[in-house]
Each structure stands twice: as C-alpha cells, then as structure tokens.
Amino acid sequence: MKQTEILPSETYIHEPEAASKKKKRLSRTARENIIGYLFVSPWLIGFAGLTLGPLIFSLYASFTDYNITSKMNFIGLDNFKRMFTLDDLFWTSLLNTLYYVVFSVPLTTAGAILLALLLNQKVKGMKFFRTIYYLPAVLSGVAVYFLWMQLLSPSTGLVNTVLGWAGIEGPAWLFDPEWTKPALLVMKMWSVGGGMLLYLASLQGVSNEMYEAAELDGASSMQRFFYITAPMISPIIFFDVITSTIGSFQIFQEAYVMTESGNGGPANSLLFYNLHMWNNAFEIFDMGYASAMAWLLFIIVMVLTVLNLKLGKRWVHYEGGDK
C-alpha cells in the first residue's frame, strides 16, 4: 500500500517552546490522548458494536442452528457440510456471483479508463460532457432497476428497438436465463461514469512534459498510453479493482428488485450469493446457516483482496519509486 500518502509523516502539532517544562508537557500529552480517543469514540463504539461484535457473533453462530427464537445449539460443521454437499443452490449462487464479478470488474474498469481518456481531451463543451457521463452514477435504487426492466423489455423496450433498427433481433434479456446476467452488466455499464471521475482526476495529474518528451522521441499514441499513462494511473486502477471486486461480490439489490419477489429469476440465473444468504436469513430465518455463508463470503473476499495486494506489487507504479 501507499503508506507514505495515507499516514502523516510529521504533521503533529508542535509543542510550544514555552511548555518545555517536563510536568506541563506530560500533562498536555495526556490531555491529547484523552481528547483524541474521546473524539474517535463514536467510531470505536460503531466498530465494536456493528463490525467486530457482529463478526465474532456470526462466527460462533455459524456453528449453531440458531433461528432467532431458538437456543443456539452447537452443531459443529453441519452448516458447512450442508453448504458444500447438500445445498445445490449454494453452488448455483456462488457460480452466478463469480460470473458477474469476472465480467463486471474488467468491463467497468476498462470502460471507466476509456471514458476518462476521452474526457481528458481538449475539446469544446467538456464540462457539459463530464456532467452527462457522471449523471447515471448518482442515480441508483429501485427507480433505476424499474427503468432498466422497461428498457430491456423484449418486445417494446428501447434496447431491442434500437437493435431492431440495426437488423439485430435482441434477446429476451431478463426472461432468458442465458441473458439475465449480461442484462445486469449492460445496466452496470450505464453508470460507468462514476469510476471515470477517479481516473480523470488522476490523468490530470500526469504532467504534459512527459508526453511531449515521448512525442519528440517518436513514441506512438499507443506507446504513450502503455509506457506513460498506464503506469501513472496504476495506483487508481489498483484501488478501483480492489473496491469493485468487493462491491461486485455483494450484488443483491438488482437481483432482488428485478426478479419476482427475489426468487432468483428464470432458472435461478440471478440467484446471487447474497440473495441466497438473504433468503436463508430472512425468509426461513436460518440464521446459523446464513452466518456460515456470511463467513465464507468474508473469507473469499479477504483471500481475493490479499491476492490483489500481492499481485499489485508487481504492476502498480508509485511515483517516487517506493512501493
């Protein structure tokens, strides 16, 4: 990680010269300690009560048959055995989620970079274009899902109408198990402007001199991208890949809203991991099993994040050279 930037180097408040007497200095240090923790205490309470506590509780619950009204009977690894050997829907949901992650992370990353490159050119009306492209990113929630259900409607939707103009017969999207996940990817790509902003800010930080020097040396625009731009924005790509991997693993609302009462859509093709977990926890109140699923998700995401961090060392370039 880029610790040098995240952590302050020497930004502490300097001790006033007047307070050089040992007694006074100690008292101020102690006061700073108390006040510091006091100010941070809301977050500490939240961390203990809403993150750490729940993590420990669900770890224990995952070895029980807890269903919110029952006692917590310890049943060992039964929940995990059931998950891996008896629950076919678990595998369906895991594979559906992996499918979505594998496509959505590269697509949104590449889309955001391309868009940022376009929006970093010097042409008229750029401010207007940036506003337009960013707009879908602030729109979210049920209304947007309804909109896309309408847009992707097989016969009268806008998407298939436009495809029809080009002589292409559009698929049934949300009604065809083969096309449900691509449908969600199309919807996701619409709001790719959200990620674009991060890249744009980073592109604007790349000095022009480097490009000019490269141009004088006869570098083509492709070469300029891969040897200057890509390394310079690699820390942002890295950050984006990590956060969007975690985010994609949590896909839930789209599937919940866009299928009949969250049933997973045609042939369970939209039964994502979290939807399956949700159904276990809040439809049949099998909290023990849902906790086991939650912990497995936690482990999967942690492993992927660590993997990303390790791989990142190989390709992420930090200005100044310290990795």
Partner: protein, 289 residues
C-alpha cells in the same frame, strides 16, 4: 518547387489535432445520446397511455402527453407519507454523518494521541469488509434491542462514523496548517472549540460533499428499510416503490412516473452541487485540486 517541399495540409500538426478533436467530439456526442436515452425513455414512458406503451413498434415521443399519470400514480399509494419519512431519515442521517465524521476526522488529522496511526489503518481496513458479512448479526442485535419497525437502525449507525467519510475528511483536514490550530490552542481554546469554530468553517466544501453523499445514500437505501421496516406507514420511497410494483403490476406508465418522481430530488441535488460530487472523487483519489 518550394511548395512541393512544404507538408500538405492534411499532414500538418494543426490538421491532425483538428481531426482528432472532431473525432473525440463525435464519440462523446454519440456516447451522450446512449447515456441520456434511458432517461428520455423513462420520461416518455411515464407520459404515455397504457395502450401506447403496449404498442409495437414503440413510439419515441408520446402521441398524447398524459401528465395526469403522475397524480394518479401518486394517489394510488401513500407516497406523500413515504416521501416525508424518507426525507426525515435522510436529514437525520446526514446531520449525524457530517458532525460525527468530521469530529473523528479532526482527531485523526490534528490531535496527537497514542496509537493514532494504527487506529487509522484499522478504520481504513474496515472498508474492505463486505457489508453483508455483518448484516445478519446486526439485524439480530437491533431486533433484540426492540428497534424493529423504528427508524433507529437506519439513523443511529450514521452517528457512529463511516470509514470512507472519515478518510475523505481527514485527507482534507491534513491540508489545513497546524499553526492555525496551535495559535488557537495557545489562546486558550480547547479542541472542541477549535473543531467547531475553526475546522468546520475551513472544511466546508468537504463537509458539503459528505452531506450530499450521505443524503443521496440514505435517499436511495433499499436494504435498510427492507430489513427493518414492516409497517407500511413507516415505509420509505425505495421500499414503497418496490411494493408499488406489486400493486400496479405491469402498469408501466405509473411505475415510470413514480420512478421519475423519486429520482428527481437526486437529479436536482446533482445539478446544484455538481462540483461537490466531483470534489469527493478528487479527494479520495489523492489528487485534491
């Protein structure tokens, strides 16, 4: 003879740049249409009659404008109530988020306390924990506290800080000179006074960014109300809209009319406070401009 040596017009740098500019503008215009078309479609559908929606091929512009769709849909369900509920929750959450996150961020940026850096790394690392992992135990906790069917589970967490906002505000506060705080300290102000009288006014742009993101997040939140609210009177717009789908079935003119209505405040917020949306992204990418 001389002219033959001069580069032809289409080979000059100026021409190349012009051509590139035109191509970029063309691509961007094309993309803008793709981005805006869904919104156009939503508005257009919301104004059509049900017969026209079912018509094939679909019309791009409604034959007749049925503005009454909006009033009819609004009256089909208690939308006024839901809008008020949503606004109340979002306003409370935003207040809590701005106050608490800036207080915590101030401590991380300007107060020298033991274990500060380690604690800050811990704050950042919580951003890597998927929310669904803690959802079930949080639900159990809030239900044991008797908070189901109240707004407490939706509002109280906003008063307990969020890692992303703490990070964003801290980065901004780091740019404020320590001498300013030190001077106030020597004048006898305590940290609470410095935070309130100096830090808050100086970090106003970042605080507005946090306020907008919080409000937007609360306005669009479906998961929270879905988990904790059962009573229809306490519904928010998101969950209200979701159940509205069941009530009106496939009456798309009503569904689209209400979707437009629910999105409208967010769109307005965006157009009025655009630069703060952008500022937020810039701070978090580490290139605060």
């Amino acid at each position: 003879m001389k002219t033959a040596l001069a580069p032809r017009f289409y080979e000059t740098k100026r021409f190349k740049e012009k051509a590139k500019g035109t191509a970029v503008t063309f691509l961007l215009l094309l993309g803008s249409i793709v981005v805006l078309a869904p919104l156009w479609w939503m508005i257009s559908t919301s104004l059509k009659s049900p017969e026209e929606i079912a018509q094939y091929p679909p019309t791009l512009i409604p034959n007749d404008f049925h503005f009454s769709n909006y009033m009819e849909a609004w009256r089909t369900a208690p939308f006024t109530r839901w809008a008020f509920n949503t606004f109340f929750i979002a306003a409370c959450g935003t207040l809590g988020s701005v106050l608490v996150n800036s207080l915590v961020a101030y401590s991380f940026a300007k107060i020298r306390f033991k274990g500060r850096n380690a604690l800050f790394v811990l704050v950042l690392s919580t951003m890597l924990i998927p929310g669904f992992v803690t959802m079930v135990p949080q639900y159990i906790l809030f239900s044991k506290l008797g908070w189901l069917n109240t707004y407490l589970p939706l509002i109280v967490p906003a008063f307990l800080g969020s890692a992303f906002f703490i990070f964003l505000l801290r980065q901004f506060m780091m740019t404020i000179p320590n001498e300013l705080i030190e001077a106030a300290y020597l004048d006898g102000a305590n940290h609470l006074q410095i935070w309130w009288h100096i830090m808050i006014p100086l970090t106003k742009p970042a605080l507005i960014t946090v306020a907008i993101f919080s409000f937007n997040g609360a306005w669009n939140d479906l998961l929270g109300p879905l988990l904790y609210i059962n009573d229809e009177n306490l519904y928010t717009l998101q969950i209200g809209l979701q159940t509205f789908k069941g009530t009106v079935q496939t009456q798309w003119h009503y569904l689209m009319a209400m979707s437009v209505t629910v999105l409208l405040p967010v769109v307005l917020l965006f157009f009025f406070f655009q630069r703060y949306f952008i500022e937020g992204s810039n701070i978090s990418s580490g290139t605060k401009g």
